[in-house]
Every structure is written in structure tokens, then in C-alpha cells.
Symmetry: C2
Subunit: 334 residues, 2 copies
């Protein structure tokens, strides 16, 4: 198993990325990792570790770079070279915590799309209130103006991933919508509903954004605009609530003492809702496994993202998607 | 000042609705209220209060009724009669905590649209983390497939309301979007951005759903599908976090004791985020003031919604919207 990892992407690169990779190499002795990035920074941390090699580059795509332009211009950027390693068969999968749009663009230019998938989707696993459970949420920002067929393709890809990688048989597929009843929603969601209910999937109907954290479905599909809004609304709410709680609890000495005793509990909640623990976001629809690790990835998040990449490769998810789509295409496509 | 209030709508009708109305009548001696609903239930609570009259009906639109059908069929439903009272000049504004879609349909059939407004919008005031502040959020579910011009109209209506009723000069208008930079988003939001930046409004650009609770803008406009998803995502997050906190805090005897001491603090947070305190959702674009009170309205929420209705009437919001739209129409419309 060979992975290409962009060592320069994300808020804590390269230190935390390299640390997480070293942990993973310790766990999985069959793992070979190519770290792509600045050799002078990476090498001292590796101590000529036998499972690692470095692909040196000093070029890097910034979080603020315009994705398509950056990928076209910065041909030696660390994430671009990581994708190339996959394209040329020197790695089985690529991981980056860098600019999401640029990673998607690099993936599209580099490895291309799975035949039969019109648009790739960005698919993080999002936590629910039940510990160690979560749901796959796609698309959360790759394809802004999705068509009904795209949502059907997301459902198929999500279903295969959830069954194979997350080990959930017959995953419940939900359509993000403004009401539970069929017939609710905008033109897109109404048309997508019709396609989904006729597809050989375990479609459980519409799910409201209010029910997502309660685990209303295992896979929730929507257009990238809606998904991104909802994802960030939940993130923003979490941030706001924790800051409000902190403020209220530390507003007097008395409650400051209590707060000290209760922080471990609150931290437990924060951990439940910590989506770094659920790995990165897959770029489903690309013709090879590419994972976007969270921008704030620490060593642990890097480690779980590597585990996820391993499973994607081992379970042959990309090929299964391609075979399923080709097989069922005529039956499903409009 | 005369208000028509649907006494039968919402989870706590008629008791809490009537209680809230009685409180408001006590505060505002010029207020005359027509309560529409079941006389046998309402009368005993009123004790022939001189500021009240009852418009008796036993017909009611249920939360589960299909809006348009229900309004067409149940011609004597309490909310329909409340709207008619406004249409016929027997009341200056109507309030209902009942079925939102039906209230919108009753409003459209009954009082119609403001000239120049293509689609009415549902516009609640949403709390932010700063106490006693909030932002106007529209549309959150009336118009699922909005056009760019609709979003411009929402911005104009929201700006006028926020300036006149909420007393904020030059309200900051934001466009709900997936990124702050111009050029982000789907086709709708890109086109709406172009219209908004050229309008004589205090347009502050795109705002992300992550920033809403931090008070990123005073008025946030979007299509009804996106608005509804984001609204419910925030509601659902709040619910989930409070239930997680409760669960964690009461999971052992030790922390149960601490939790008892800390509950008042947590309640303070819940109150900050309590949007019933911010009044109901205006149905902007209807040719008369109509307010949807929250479905779970208690007496206090009913009271604040009545205050809001008073301001809508006193500040002549509907006429100002109409005049502004007609005056600027040629300049703004595409």
C-alpha cells in the first residue's frame, strides 16, 4: 500500500502531517508513504524512516489561491505532485489538507473522473450525537449548480462507500430537503426525489437539516451550495455555543471553579462532535482515491485520514463505483 | 390600533395566545384586538375585557394540512378570517401561530401582494450571540426557486423594516453564500450579488452561514430553500448541543450536583438564543402586515409578536416598501 501525502497543506503543516504519517507507518508495516514537500523541513523529522520517501518541492498552493488558476500555474505544487504520483501509479491514493477547490481541480486535471460520473462530490463524514456514529454528507461544495442526476450519482457513490468502508449494510440514503413529505422542496429536490425513489437504493426519503445530527440517515445527498451552507451553519452553531458556554461559565469566580470541574464533560461533547476523528472528506467521482484532510488537521486527524485512505484502496471503492454505475446506468439515468 | 389574532393557531392555542393578548392590551390602552376562534374556549379567559371582541369560528387549519387546499376549502378557518378582517379594514394587521404555508396562501388570496413585489418572503428575526441583537433572515421558506430579482426585493424590504421597526440606521445587507469573495456561489447567488452591489443599499457582500450567529449582517437574504435549510440546521444544532450537555452533566451524581448549580447559566444561554423573544416572522411582500408567530408561542412570544405588529402598522412599513419599490423599480429591476 503506497500513499502520496501533501506534507505542506493545512494549518499545521508540515509538523502535524508528518507526525500523523509516522504514527500510521508504525501501525501498518505494509505502508509506504511518499511525503511531498520541502525536504529541508520534512527530513529532520523522519530520521531516514524506512517506510518513507520524500518528493521534494518548495511550491505550494495557498488557501487563498484561486483553485483552477493555481493548479494550472503551480505545476510543482505539493498537492499537484501528490496527485501525479497516483496518476503515474507510484501511489494508490493521495491525501492533502490544503486548498479544497485546488485539490478537486488537481484531481480532475490529474486523474480525471470515473466513467459515468458527471461531477465529483466533496464528501465528509459528519458526526451525530451518538458517539462513534456519523453520516456521509455529499456534496458539500464541489458542484454548486447540481442537476438531479448528480444527486443520484452521489447517492450511489455514498452508498457503496458506506457499505464497504464504514461497514454498514444497506445504508439509509436521505435527500436533504425542507420537509419530510414527498413533494416538498425546490425543483431540484423534487426531481431528485423521483430519481432516488426508483433507484435500487435504501432510500429513506427527505431528511430535514434539523434532523442531521440525530442521525436521520447514513448518507445525505444535496447540491454543493446547500451542503456547504448547512455544513457551515452547523460548524458555526457549535463554535457559537461553546464560546457562549465558556463566557457564561467563567463570568464569576464561583462558576469559574465549577467550570473547571465540568470542563472534562464539555470536552467530551466537543470530542463527540469532532469531525476530524471521522477522517477527511473523500473526493468521490475522481478516478482514483483522493482525500481532503481537514484544514486544521493535527497528527491524529492525519492518522485517521490515512486509515480511511487505506480502506478506500483495500475495499476497491473507486472500481466498485465505476462498475456499479456502468452496470446500472441505463436503468437509472434519465 | 386594531389587530386580528388567530386564537387557534400554534401548539399552545388558545390559552397562551389569549394570555399574551391580554398582557398586550394591558400595556397598550389604544389596542383593540379581535380574537378569531372558538368562542366557548376564548370567552371564559377574557371576562368581557373591553379591548377585545371575539369572531367565532370552529374551523381551523391544521399544521399537517396542505396549505393551498386548506385555505381554499376551509373558508371559515380562524387564520383565514383573521386575514379577511385586515382585507376588509376591520383590522390593521393579522397574527397567526398556525400553519405557515397556509398563512402565506391565505395572505396571498386575501390581501394580495405589494405592487412591484413578485414573491412574498418569510422573514424571522434570528438571534445572534450578542444579547438583544439579531438579524433579519429572509426568505426562509416561502419561495423555493427564487430568482435574483426576488433576492433584491427581499433586501429592499428587509432594509426598510430593519431601519424603521428595529431602529437600525443603514442596515448592513448580506447575501447568504458559500464564501466571502465576490464570484463565489451558484448561478443564483452570483447574479443576485451583481444586482445587490449596484442597488442603493448598504450591501456588505457575501456572508457565510458560519458567521450568521456572530452578527455578520443585519439583514441576510437568500432563496427560500437555502434559508429554510440553514434555519433548521441552526435550530437542530442548538437542540442537539443542549441535549448533549444535559446528558453529560447528569451522567453521574457528582456532576448532577454541579449541573444544578450551573443550570441558571445554561438557561441564560438558551434565553440568548431564544428567538421567540425576537417576535414572529413577517410575511413581507403581502399588501398588509401579516405576522407568523412561532408555532410553539407561549404568552410572552405572543406579546412580543403583538408589539412587532404594532410597530409594522405605526411605522407604515408596507406603504414605505410599496413607495420605495415603485420609485426605484426602473433603476433596480433587471
Amino acid at each position: 500500500m503506497k500513499l502520496a501525502i501533501d506534507a505542506m497543506g493545512g494549518d499545521h503543516a508540515p509538523q502535524e502531517i508528518v507526525k500523523g504519517a509516522i504514527q500510521a507507518a508504525k501501525t501498518y508495516s505494509d505502508l509506504k508513504i511518499t511525503l511531498v514537500g520541502d525536504q529541508t523541513k520534512i527530513e529532520p523529522m523522519l530520521n531516514s524512516h524506512p517506510q518513507f520517501e520524500i518528493l521534494h518541492t518548495t511550491e505550494k498552493i495557498e488557501a487563498t489561491d484561486s483553485p483552477v488558476k493555481a493548479v494550472r500555474k503551480k505545476k510543482d505544487a505539493s498537492m499537484v505532485l501528490a496527485i501525479h504520483a497516483v496518476k503515474e501509479g507510484r501511489a494508490d491514493a493521495a491525501i492533502s489538507a490544503g486548498n479544497t477547490g485546488a485539490l478537486m481541480a488537481a484531481g480532475l486535471f490529474g486523474v480525471g473522473r470515473i466513467k459515468g460520473i458527471d461531477r465529483p462530490a466533496l464528501a465528509p463524514t459528519f458526526p451525530t450525537v451518538k458517539k462513534n456514529e456519523g453520516f456521509l454528507f455529499l456534496d458539500v461544495g464541489s458542484n454548486m449548480d447540481a442537476k438531479p442526476e448528480h444527486l443520484l450519482q452521489y447517492a450511489i457513490m455514498g452508498s457503496i462507500y458506506t457499505e464497504k468502508v464504514l461497514n454498514k449494510p444497506k445504508p439509509r440514503i436521505g435527500l436533504l430537503n425542507v420537509g419530510e413529505e414527498p413533494g416538498k422542496g425546490n425543483e431540484l429536490s423534487k426531481a431528485a426525489y423521483s430519481l432516488l425513489k426508483d433507484a435500487p437504493l435504501n432510500f429513506v426519503g427527505n431528511v430535514e437539516s434539523r434532523e442531521l445530527l440525530q442521525g436521520a440517515a447514513d448518507v445525505v445527498v444535496c447540491d454543493g451550495f446547500s451542503g456547504n451552507l448547512v455544513l457551515k451553519a452547523i460548524e458555526g452553531s457549535a463554535m457559537s455555543f461553546f464560546s457562549l458556554i465558556k463566557e457564561e461559565l467563567t463570568s464569576s469566580f464561583f462558576s469559574k471553579v465549577l467550570a473547571g470541574l465540568l470542563y472534562p464533560k464539555l470536552k467530551g461533547i466537543k470530542n463527540t462532535m469532532d469531525y476530524a476523528a471521522y477522517g477527511g472528506a473523500c473526493l468521490f467521482g475522481l478516478a482514483a482515491p483522493v482525500i481532503k484532510a481537514h484544514g486544521s488537521s493535527n497528527a491524529h486527524a492525519t492518522y485517521t485520514t490515512i486509515q480511511q485512505a487505506r480502506l478506500l484502496v483495500e475495499k476497491n471503492v473507486v472500481n466498485t463505483i465505476e462498475e456499479t454505475i456502468l452496470e446500472k446506468r441505463d436503468q437509472w439515468a434519465k
